[in-house]
């Protein structure tokens, strides 16, 4: 297992694409958070119905965008091997499919988690600096964003875990589909389409979609206000995403075992 882990890590770190994508995660997340925070104007200050906005969730909006790059990073970790034929060398060296896929999963999830920490911190700093100018300041009933605040800490840690799980989901889909283009399309569609569709339907359907879709359920972890009105509670939502990731990895493993490389 250690050899497999080291082999996968060597492959991951020596591909230039990996580091571009890591930089992409950081840049996109922080830029999106800063952009949204800078263009937010709550009028009248404080918003309708008192303190109804959620500054922490708003400043973590960059994770919505950064996850796309994390997912692609994970998809590429396996589909590139199929594209170039390296997968046959990999499986010759590590014939046990489960060991190979676990080694990939550990590496890609670890890289995603390590990348997510500065990305999430950057998003929170952008929110802390920019949101008070939008009217979300202590004078209007909004405390400055701080890790010392329990729910904010949960949102931050949860967002890091969320990105790790997204990486596992991407890896699982890549293992099932094997083609970089199709896998990327499917994983991005799976993440982004259900939230849009949920907005367009009404009644209980909206709630069910939000409870079951990987992105809407997983991102419940970012909420720090009005927890009761969420379609799913924060940790349960993250568990739904974990179930998606585990399910995709298991199907990926089954496909790996069943088919020739």
């Amino acid at each position: 297992m250690t050899d497999a882990l080291r082999a996968e890590w060597t492959k991951l770190r020596t591909v230039t694409g990996t580091w571009w994508l890591v930089v992409g995660v950081l840049a996109l997340s922080v830029a999106a958070s800063a952009g949204i925070a800078a263009s937010t104007h709550v009028s009248p200050p404080g918003g309708p119905g008192g303190a109804s906005q959620d500054p922490t969730k708003l400043s973590l909006i960059g994770v919505d965008l950064g996850q796309a790059v994390v997912a692609v990073l994970a998809v590429l970790a396996i589909t590139e091997e199929y594209g170039t034929g390296v997968i046959r060398v990999t499986l010759t060296a590590t014939p046990r499919r489960a060991v190979m896929l676990s080694a990939k999963a550990v590496n890609i999830a670890g890289l995603a988690l390590i990348t997510a920490v500065p990305a999430v911190v950057g998003c929170l700093i952008a929110g802390r600096l920019l949101l008070p100018q939008a009217g979300l300041d202590p004078a209007h009933g909004y405390a400055l964003i701080s890790i010392a605040h329990g729910p904010t800490l949960r949102a931050a840690v949860g967002s890091v875990l969320y990105l790790g799980l997204i990486a596992l989901l991407g890896l699982g889909i890549g293992a099932v589909l094997r083609d970089a283009a199709v896998s990327t399309g499917i994983v991005l569609g799976l993440l982004y389409l259900p939230p849009l569709f949920a907005q367009l339907v009404s009644g209980p359907w909206r709630r069910h979609i939000q409870q079951l879709a990987p992105m809407t359920a997983g991102l419940a972890i970012q909420a720090t206000r009005n927890i009761r009105t969420l379609p799913i509670s924060p940790w349960a939502g993250l568990a739904v995403l974990a179930a998606w990731a585990a399910g995709m990895l298991l199907i990926g493993l089954a496909v790996l075992k069943a088919r020739d490389a």
């Binding site: 709550v42 708003l58 796309a68 790059v69 283009a181 982004y192 939230p195 849009l196």
Partner: protein, 526 residues
């Protein structure tokens, strides 16, 4: 000679490249399946979304008064949706004639109670909306949506001459007071109605004139008042004081005018009418003046109706089609790099710009066909399902619907071609698809879909102005009017850019991506 044969050889060679690219495209079974899937998704999700939309309304706070279906929206003379709710105090006039009156005051009240309660006069404050209207009106019928011409004073737009809901001409500016009254006059000569105004009762100016089609011999002629909702949606009333009223045939023409009593009529104030009014309409006659109070509007109807448009259910399916076409558009070039086929392609057609152009034409053409055909099927289907569910659909003429269909095709085509450019630059499927989805699809979501309409309304508006999401403006069908104070915002369903301007924004992105791809393709080895 060679200068003559050169273009034809070049165009023949382009046609050969085009045929080569088309053959490559159509023989990949997965891509053809993808195209059919994209089109089916557009139709399927249009149906699902339309099917989920139901409308009902209640005429009183009592739940037993609630019914399915939409409230009544009148249709104007050209079939457009209009508001036609006002108070009319009129006589019948046969043949040509004229009416003159002085307006000495125009005041109003604005509903100030909670938004979720039915407006009543009990909780109002004094105030006048800028499009509160009172003046003289001629109409052949008191049926809602019928033709009319009117000269009026307004709350904030001076004297206006308006006819048939959409036509408007300005007269004397300024507001009304006891020291600055306005004299108004409306004359009928055959089918022509002319409106005049005056600030002293002796010097008259023509404000405008209108030719009303099919005007019968006998028409209603009289005084009216109405007052629209504020841009925040609060119901209002306006009360005008008329005196010096003279009504009758013109001196130099033989015509009959009734000298009988005034008839007071509340047009369209019933509970089934969509327009939110304050139930305070009526008129009061004193020895020398008539006070008319009205609530409502005589103007085009905009999104205040709460209706849907034919394209409202199209968006989600189109987004799926966009993602599918992004994947196919990318693979159209990246798969050639992966398999080394690109070297054969360049050996056959050494002009790389020509290869890229041929690929762009092929992927753009099929993407356009998928988007246009799918929306041509989906629009009538969605409209049918939504009307069946009782929803009001804003009428749209066939030219406008054609614009939405062409727009859907162009939206998908421009995106696919842009992503072909990205794929050419990046040469790698995942990177190009990622860039394609982030740049061409995600801005669409960052609007009300993810962030919520209140917290980032201005951010969403900007995204729909400057990012490729602007292309979705082509789907906009909600009517706007300068004669109605309404918040024409994204929250109310209005795209910030006009349709073709939005498509131009998207086309700019496509042009930049394709030009960059062309430069990169020429400089690099295959």
């Amino acid at each position: 000679m060679s200068s003559l044969t050169e273009p034809s050889r070049s165009s023949r060679s382009f046609r050969a490249a085009l045929r080569a690219e088309w053959t490559k495209f159509r023989t990949v079974r997965g891509w053809m399946i993808g195209l059919v899937f994209a089109a089916l998704m557009v139709v399927l999700f249009t149906f699902l979304q339309a099917n989920g939309k139901h409308t009902g309304y209640c005429t009183t706070p009592n739940p037993s008064s609630c019914v399915n279906g939409h409230q009544y929206v009148p249709s104007g003379p050209d079939g457009e949706a209009v508001a036609d709710t006002y108070e009319l105090v009129a006589k019948q006039l046969t043949g040509d004639g004229t009416i003159t009156a002085r307006i000495t005051s125009l005041v109003g009240r604005i509903w100030a109670g909670p938004a979720n309660e039915a407006p009543s006069l009990a909780d109002t404050e004094s105030g006048l909306t800028s499009w509160a209207k009172a003046g003289l009106l001629i109409t052949p019928s008191t049926r809602q949506g019928s033709s009319y011409a009117a000269v009026m004073t307004t709350g904030g737009h001076g004297v206006r001459f308006q006819y048939d809901y959409t036509n408007d001409q300005a007269g004397l500016p300024g507001s009304i007071s006891g020291t600055a009254p306005r004299w108004l006059r409306l004359t009928r000569t055959g089918n022509v109605i002319t409106g005049y105004d005056s600030s002293d009762g002796t010097h008259w100016h023509t404000v405008g004139c209108a030719q009303l089609a099919h005007l019968p011999t006998t028409v209603y002629i009289g005084l009216f008042a109405t007052s629209p909702t504020t841009s925040q949606g609060s119901a209002t009333t306006a009360t005008a004081s008329f005196d010096d009223i003279a009504i009758g045939p013109q001196a130099d023409r033989a015509a009959q005018a009734t000298s009988g009593p005034w008839h007071s009529m509340s047009i369209g104030t019933g509970p089934r009418d969509f327009y939110t009014t304050l139930r305070n309409s009526g008129y009061r006659q004193t020895s020398d003046s008539i006070l008319v109070t009205g609530s409502g509007d005589i103007a085009p109807a905009v999104a205040e109706v709460g209706g849907d448009t034919a394209s409202d259910s199209l968006l989600f399916g189109l987004v799926i089609a966009l993602i599918v076409l992004i994947v196919i558009g990318t693979m159209f070039i990246t798969s050639e790099y992966r398999r080394g086929l690109i070297r054969t392609t360049f050996a056959a057609t050494p002009d790389r710009g020509r290869v890229l152009a041929a690929k762009a034409v092929v992927i753009g053409g099929v993407a356009f066909a998928v988007g246009a055909v799918a929306s041509a099927v989906a629009i009538p289907l969605g409209e049918h399902v939504m009307s069946g569910n009782g929803n009001y659909i804003f009428p749209a003429d066939s030219l406008t619907v054609a614009r939405v269909i062409v727009g859907s095709g162009a939206l998908v085509a421009l995106t696919a071609v842009a992503v072909l450019g990205l794929g050419t630059i990046l040469r790698r499927s995942a990177g190009a698809i990622l860039a394609g989805v982030v740049v061409f699809v995600l801005p669409t979501f960052t609007g009300p879909g993810i962030i919520g309409p209140t917290s980032a309304g201005s951010a969403a508006t900007w995204l729909y102005r400057v990012t490729p999401a602007a292309g979705f403006s082509m789907l906009g069908l909600l009517p706007r009017s300068g004669l109605v104070s309404y918040q024409y915002t994204m929250g109310n369903g209005y795209y910030p850019l006009p349709p073709w301007a939005g498509l131009l924004v998207l086309a700019t992105y496509t042009t930049v991506a394709l030009s960059a791809a062309r430069v990169v393709l020429r400089r690099r080895d295959a």
